[in-house]
Subunit: 276 residues, 2 copies
């Protein structure tokens, strides 16, 4: 049987960018949520690498980078209900799932940290993310204290609330180009991200995470009109919402979006990546 990995989706609420010539040391500081809507990745060793996402042939540089680092070619099947390029870390999840599932097939075995480092470095080199992979590996409400893959990266988290209170809702209006934003001038964004992290660590709760995320979205200048209006509508209905970095996506705690009259997708905060 071909091994299959499940990797949670990951929305980042805020972040600062920390480039480094070594992709394992490059990354971001910030915080996010790991979501039960994620990516399932099945791997079969093959003479030539073929990657399918929801049954369509795709090119995913982060996945190819993982296979190169592991020294194999393989047929990769990734399946996800998540929208692509909308801030859910689909490329990072595909890379991490490929690393975990391939490890179950190869003669040489690696630890979780080594597999996370391989997926993180491939994602950074592809330019598609700076912090999703490490958040997806950890699960829950990951806080990235120091950038990069383990052992360099350092992590903490908020305690995951009880299942009855860990519901997350989201709506997506469209994509944003992650590579363009994190490849551009990130000074303003990173200052806002550092402020947001300080704010969260002063009071480490989910409500504070949402407030810090909104503050970041405003200060970093990333809000679109539709996203801003939706967040305001959720807040007026008494809920907590912010923008998924980087996508034109609004996520809300509990029933925040549906209480404000939207028809959101519903999922849960969940544990980290695993073999199924």
């Amino acid at each position: 049987m071909s091994p299959r990995a499940f990797v949670p989706g990951h929305v980042t609420g805020f972040f600062s960018a920390h480039p480094h010539e070594n992709p394992e040391r490059a990354g971001s500081r910030g915080a996010g949520l790991a979501l039960s809507d994620g990516v399932r990745v099945t791997v079969e060793l093959a003479d030539e690498t073929v990657i399918r996402l929801n049954d369509r042939l795709v090119s995913m540089a982060a996945v190819e980078g993982v296979l190169d680092r592991l020294g194999v070619t393989a047929q990769i099947e990734a399946e996800t209900p998540l929208p692509v390029s909308a801030g859910f870390g689909v490329s990072g999840a595909s890379a991490l799932g490929t690393a975990l599932a391939t490890n179950a097939l190869t003669a040489e075995k690696r630890t979780e940290n080594e597999l996370v480092a391989i997926a993180h470095a491939a994602e950074v080199e592809a330019g598609t993310g700076l912090g999703d992979v490490v958040g997806q590996a950890r699960g829950g409400v990951p806080i990235r204290l120091e950038p990069g893959a383990p052992p360099r990266g350092q992590f903490d988290g908020l305690p995951i609330p009880a299942p009855a209170r860990s519901r997350v809702e989201y709506v997506t209006f469209g994509g944003l180009d992650t590579a363009e934003i994190i490849g551009g001038d990130t000074d303003r964004l990173s200052r806002a991200g550092e402020n947001a992290l300080t704010t969260l660590l002063e009071r480490p709760t989910l409500d504070q995470f949402m407030a810090a995320s909104r503050m970041f979205a405003h200060e970093a200048g990333l809000l679109t009109d539709r996203v801003e209006a939706t967040i305001e509508n959720v807040q007026e209905a008494g809920g907590e919402a912010s923008m998924a970095m980087l996508g034109e996506t609004v996520f809300a705690l509990e029933d925040g979006l549906s209480a404000a009259g939207y028809d959101p997708t519903v999922c849960q905060i969940t544990d980290g990546a695993r073999i199924e």
Copy 2:
């Protein structure tokens, strides 16, 4: 509703002891398994601290140490199918579960690392464990690379195998006095533990973990006759077994004990501690 935490049981296969005057920095290096047989802890704030384990009044220094550090008194109900003092980390699990569930009740909130550090320090001061709490927080197949609580302690893990291959069986013949062993001369034990960790990191697989654990149990001189005979019987039947540190307990991968004719308790490798 009173918050409830689930904390997995944790069997250590091998370890080295690393004392330090600061209990957050004291700890162990080594590796183990987080088990789906664990401890459920319910907390209710109360005028006086009362601790019950499986409905019986008990005194648990590690749990009291957690409540002291959090500055509260509370009624603690811990329930577990695990045998006590038999190498499953029941005291560490009770301490960590108390920290997590109490955090859901108090006005001041803490991050996961802070709660793990509080439970780890209380457990070290109680003398009942050096590495269970951090392993129970992480879940899976935790490897303790550097001793102590986060951020000082550093961790890795083996990828958890698919559910169909993550079965663990155990039998317990009796308890061992953890405080006596880790409070005594640990030089020989720690040398054996460092060797075992090097062996595991050379080939990070579950089979290698079991082999390194058996090597440790022999070198450290901790095997009892009953434990040694049981491990041999499992190996003769083609299985993988070793001794839980520190208890007169044998644990085996998959159906190792039942295939050798024993009537073991069955559980699974599982994720880390969580609020239920």
